[in-house]
Symmetry: C2
Subunit: 185 residues, 2 copies
């Protein structure tokens, strides 16, 4: 028997990202957990229009998505609590660039991506950005056989109900495999 | 020092959902981990155009998002491995409805949502759907003080690199709070 909870978004947890863009010629960052995947190389960002970072994404049509690990929880939350309108966030991280001049990536994040904007859907309160990954960068310490290993990355998972960051647990089963054990309804 | 990995989507893990829609008058389901949040009540689905379920979402402009728990990993993976074009998936789950007649929800999932389609962006290989949550339903056993408790829900997290489902770990820190400990770059 289910309880009706009104109209609550329950699609959690999602991985926490720090989004980077260039605003007025300087790197700016925002912590965003309202992210998603649109297709194999496509990433969505649901960003409240109040964010200064949105201006940079719209102006340059590029951005970065950086994945903080558990040991970055304090700075990640800080970047999510202060606006670039009130505090210059350009000096918080060491920044590097790949192919795109206006997609500042964060050296301290062990996995980073640079993206070009392919779609911008204006919703009443939010900008929904869809970007396509142009380049992906990872520290050697989070790779296993050349592939990103999330058990080594230790990403920060975000949940709105608890208003907490959560850690990743253990692997449970193989996708496109464990389903072969299905024996019928 | 970072390794360049080409253009890999590294935005994982994301929560695994079973999406429901009505196709030819019957419930159809697809397992989708390429999900996201667009705004407080907005959910994105990045669904390959090959999915039969997409036809139902486009025809009725409604769908459901159901969250399977760890104990549903076999059936969840099964639903992701077979197409409704080859197998009638209408009998796999017990189905119930909320306010929307064409958004079949799954009784076996402890958290479910019914949504109306508000945006449909056609990408080359994928439909990007944006839905708005109309109603949310949860089993009492996953609530704490009336709010969804993901530690009780035990959602299935999906990661593409490992091609595995992962469990949720422990809570790490409070959002919009732990960042107050930040002492500067």
């Amino acid at each position: 028997m289910k309880e009706k909870l009104g109209a609550t978004n329950a699609l959690y947890p999602l991985v926490t990202a720090i989004v980077g863009a260039t605003v007025d010629g300087k790197p700016d960052f925002a912590t965003i957990a309202h992210v998603g995947i649109a297709h194999l190389k496509g990433i969505t960002l649901g960003m409240g229009k109040i964010h200064l970072t949105n201006d940079g994404i719209k102006a340059n049509r590029t951005f970065s998505v950086n994945l903080p690990s558990e040991d970055m929880v304090v700075v990640t939350d800080h970047v999510g609590m202060v606006s670039g309108r009130n505090e210059d966030k350009s000096g918080i991280f060491d920044v590097f660039y790949g192919e795109l001049d206006t997609a500042p990536m964060i050296e301290q994040c062990k996995v980073t991506m640079e993206l070009k904007l392919i779609e911008h859907i204006e919703l009443p309160t939010h900008d929904l950005f869809v970007g396509e990954v142009v380049g992906t960068y990872a520290d050697l310490e989070v790779l296993t056989n050349g592939i990103i290993d999330i058990a080594k990355l230790r990403p920060l998972l975000f949940d709105m109900s608890s208003k907490k960051y959560w850690s990743l647990g253990a692997p449970l089963a193989k996708c496109w495999s464990v389903g072969k054990e299905y024996a019928g309804a």
